[in-house]
Subunit: 148 residues, 2 copies
DNA sequence: ATGCGATATGATGAAGTTATCAATTCATCA
DNA sequence: TGATGAATTGATAACTTCATCATATCGCAT
């Protein structure tokens, strides 16, 4: 890699970092929980009573803990990754820490990803059921690596 | 995690996989090149003459090679990751292979990421110049890990 | 101040990813 | 057919990331 890229376009790096922050199932899980909470705060869905969700602003770690069934330190580590990548912010209120998305755009990103994913999955589905064997590319032996 | 999650929501996994596919500067680079090419094909920007860009559909690997300055096998490996994640498709035409985005939504995803990134960077910028020290959360010593 | 509940950090082995080099395949042309 | 250019695959060492356990910090109540 040319040194010039270092100074002028670490942009790819930064963007890649952003995605790297998202590149783990648990972190996605957490972000979706936080997105939901944002969404709920708009239309005031009453189904969460009070025992279940954050109310004022953000979801307490304890909630995330029980919703994910994770070990505390493990979750904490992932939260720290999310924090480092500026995807969430945590705020201490009393003895608990409440997390929320750092920017509403994070939810957008997840939403767009969801759309793309739907396309992808559907296409794959179709390919399977109609078994139309596209020649594709990769020196084409080794077909159907389907399930990654 | 309940076993039901395995069958019913490997969704987090799948989504995380998607992001993992994006989680590398070179792959972002490649995707942006391919996105550009898509964009250009709409408004027919004439600045690419002919020596530089794919014309019919997709960008040939040779172009990606010279634009990224990578070693062939290295690029190929990343392309293979992108292919595996259904982000691009490659098509052999004669002795060359032409790549393009598998779905236009991939470009959307990048665009949304760009927006988010702009927010993030700007906020960080602001924080730096005004040095308003938020208590933040993480047992708050160790400030300013800035450059990751 | 001491102790407790709630989170966060550190350290470490296991697992996964990236970069590099060698070997292979496919298409074209002599 | 054999040589050549274009791209992919395989193998492997260097590097990261993840999961787990132990330890530390913060805030609140005693």
């Amino acid at each position: 890699m040319p040194a010039s890229a270092q100074i002028h376009q670490p942009l790819y790096e930064v963007k890649a970092d952003l995605f790297r922050g998202l590149a783990h199932p648990l972190r996605i899980r957490v972000l979706e929980i936080l997105s939901e909470q944002v969404a709920r705060s708009y239309d005031g869905d009453p189904t969460d009573g009070d025992a279940m969700g954050g109310e004022v602003g953000g979801v307490p770690v304890s909630d995330l803990l029980q919703q994910t069934g994770l070990e505390a330190s493990h979750l904490s580590q992932h939260l720290s990754v999310l924090r480092r990548n500026n995807l969430v912010v945590g705020e201490r209120r009393g003895s608990q820490v409440f997390y929320r998305l750092a920017y509403p755009q994070v939810a957008d990103l997840l939403a767009v990803a969801r759309v793309l994913l739907r396309e992808i999955l559907q296409t794959n589905q179709d390919r399977l059921t109609s078994s139309e064997s596209l020649p594709a590319v990769g020196n084409s032996h080794r077909r159907d690596r389907t399930a990654r």
